[in-house]
Amino acid sequence: MTSRLRPVDAACGAALLFLMLLAPPVKHALEERMTTQMLVQIPLLVVVGFLIARSLPNRVTAVIDDWNCRGITGLVLATMTSMFWMLPRMLDGAVTDSLVAAAKYASAPLLIGVPLALSWPRMGFIVRGVFVVECIATLFRLGWLYLISPERLCNLYLLEDQQRLGQWLMLIGAALFLAVACKLVWGRFDSLSVAAREPQPAHRGLPSAPT
């Protein structure tokens, strides 16, 4: 993916993207619809975290690695944080309450993006599989809920917006499912060999930039 990205470029990219998302017109436009807040704004904040992870010096990632065997800790942190931002009242709060807004802008990159980016290369085949299948299940569960709920779950957003988001979530879930199915049938599983090479998997897949 972005493994050729230099740390300096990643840091600049993270800062630029973050500032762009912070700009009031962009923030306002993305938060005007439930669909864009959940499917564009929050994912882009997570991408900021991916870029931050790329820019971390190796000594920092080495220290984190000591606490992140096979990427489990990072996965737990990212999952817990994502659950928080799936609560409908937090989507309302992130627009009306500046404290919640600040929490979203800080936690989506730092507590979802960074840990996911650091953990993914260290995750074994089974952990990755469980993670992706759980993502698909969550997309379907949440999508179905939004699609069939006769009530608005967010006070700030219209019912049709909520239903459109439900459709998108199920569409993304289906696409991810198809991608996994294709991978199972035709794909190669590099992570199998990575997992087989324990106990030193930490040095595989590190975003090692030429120094």
Partner: protein, 205 residues
């Protein structure tokens, strides 16, 4: 060692994250803002600001003048084809259920319009008529200035968004205000029985 440290930190994160989620959902009771505001006012009643309004008869009054009575308040706009029609007929039923205390002036029903530009006294009177108001103890009113309307929306937790068709989408509820002028309870539309019981119980025999 790495495995143990990972296990330790993961468990700590699950416990901490669970605690945050538990607190952020009011002990797993409120996943939506609508549920949250019901719990919030039950725990911490909020004082209703003294906001001036104009009633369907064109008379001026103020929330401060309504102190000493129990109030059942809803928020409407008279062109509303959905919620406000349902709320209107519920208020008409409440007039029957609470006929006694309404007659004595111990209770008052108040419908506040959040569309004051359009909802003139005449439009408000027409709304009451369409809802088959029995007349006694139910006022429909519009705030006199927009600052007052904003203050009321803030305190009562009313969110109004344009629906793209010239109307509005808004959260609907029946709000119970006590004689000290504090918002103490919010009930769903369709639960007017509960609102009536709450008031009758507090009023005593």
């Amino acid at each position: 060692m790495r495995l143990l440290r990972t296990l330790f930190l993961s468990i700590a994160l699950i416990v901490a994250g669970g605690g945050v989620l538990y607190a952020a959902t009011d002990h797993l009771r409120a996943f939506t803002s609508e549920a949250a505001r019901r719990i919030a006012v039950r725990q911490h009643p909020i004082e209703v600001p003294s906001v001036a309004f104009e009633t369907q008869s064109g008379a001026r009054s103020d929330f401060a003048n309504l102190r000493g009575k129990w109030l059942l308040v809803d928020f409407i706009y008279t062109r509303c084809p959905t919620y406000c029609v349902a709320l209107g007929s519920e208020f008409a039923q409440l007039q029957d259920q609470l006929a006694g205390p309404l007659g004595k002036g111990a209770v008052e029903l108040v419908s506040i319009s959040f569309d004051p530009a359009h909802d003139t006294p005449r439009a408000l009177a027409a709304y009451l008529q369409r809802a088959h108001s029995r007349g006694a103890g139910w006022v429909a009113a519009r705030p006199v200035d927009s600052g007052g309307l904003d203050a009321l929306k803030q305190v009562f937790g009313i969110t109004v968004i344009p629906d793209g068709l010239g109307g509005y989408t808004h959260n609907a509820a029946i709000h119970v205000v006590d004689p000290q002028g504090r918002l103490i309870e919010i009930v769903d539309p369709g639960q007017s029985d509960l609102a009536a019981r709450t008031v009758l119980q507090k009023l005593g025999p």
